[in-house]
């Protein structure tokens, strides 16, 4: 019993002494509600219209103009991250596990893109990592339309 108490006291003391340089971190970050696979599977390119897609998926995070200027791209984005890490910060130690890095948020987010033509008919659906989806995507500058 005495040995047990001594061990606890020792562990407590060690914990307080190491407070500044040893840390266990558990963080969870979530942004927007993920779109279910079943919802995406219900959309049929060539058949589904914008109204149906908006009803099933809700409002997108972003709407962009397609390259031909006729249709639209709807972008849905969500992100969930669950990090558990042990961090040691002694001058000669190595960084065992990184804290959550906010700068990497956009690279880890997932998303879905819906492409609509000029008649608001769904042409294609893409899903995956946001960085891959938006790699070649740029918002066009507003232009004067004549006529």
């Amino acid at each position: 019993m005495r040995c047990f108490r001594a061990r606890w006291a020792y562990l407590t003391l060690v914990a307080f002494l190491l407070e500044g340089c040893v840390q266990f971190n558990w963080s969870r970050v979530s942004r927007n509600t993920p779109i279910g696979v079943k919802v995406l599977a219900q959309l049929e390119p060539g058949t589904s219209e914008l109204t149906e897609c908006l009803q099933r998926m809700g409002a997108p995070l972003l709407v962009l103009e397609t390259d031909d200027g006729q249709g639209a791209i709807l972008l849905y984005v969500w992100h969930t991250e669950n990090n558990r890490g042990f961090r040691v910060s002694l001058p000669v130690s190595e960084y065992a596990s990184a804290d959550f890095d906010y700068d990497l948020l956009h690279t880890k987010a997932k998303g879905a893109m819906l492409f609509f033509d000029g008649d608001w008919l769904l042409r294609s659906v893409r899903e995956g990592q946001l960085l891959d989806l938006t790699n070649d995507l740029q918002r066009r500058r507003p232009a004067l339309m004549e006529g």
Partner: protein, 138 residues
């Protein structure tokens, strides 16, 4: 001097209480959207002018050829953190109310898409998954 077990426990809990801390924070962007106001929009009838009178100025306007889309949004973030000596727990939950209004070339509303989730944000610790099941429809 030898410390008794209860005294040791009290000492441990007191130290833990003194040296631990918790934090709650909430961030919001823009005013919440009113679902009742969004429901008043009538595709095929409501004009862009009427929509703006009803909902106010949009956050963003996107040109879609001769057509346009207006974005309204409100974002809420709740953060909860707990620091206990060498253990740090943190959770952040962000959701938003969003509405996209699509107008045709005559500035008449053609489509509306709305999502209202900002009110569902939670203060929780990381072992709680706020999105236990992905949404399967609206």
């Amino acid at each position: 001097m030898e410390l008794s077990a209860p005294l040791l426990r009290i000492l441990f809990c007191s130290l833990l209480a003194v040296t631990s801390s918790c934090a709650l924070a909430r961030t919001t962007i823009n005013d919440p959207l009113d679902p009742a106001q969004v429901l008043k929009l009538d595709p095929g009838k409501t004009t862009a002018k009427q929509a703006v009178e009803l909902l106010g100025a949009p956050v963003d306007v996107v040109q879609l050829g001769r057509r346009s889309a207006y974005r309204y949004d409100h974002r809420a973030t709740k953060r909860a953190g707990l620091v206990m000596v060498v253990v740090n727990l943190f959770n952040e939950d962000t959701r938003s109310d969003r509405a996209w209004l699509f107008f045709d070339e005559d500035d008449v509303l053609s489509h509306v898409g709305a999502t209202f989730q900002a009110g569902d944000t939670h203060y929780v610790l990381p072992w709680s998954n706020v999105h236990e099941k992905p949404e399967e429809g609206k």
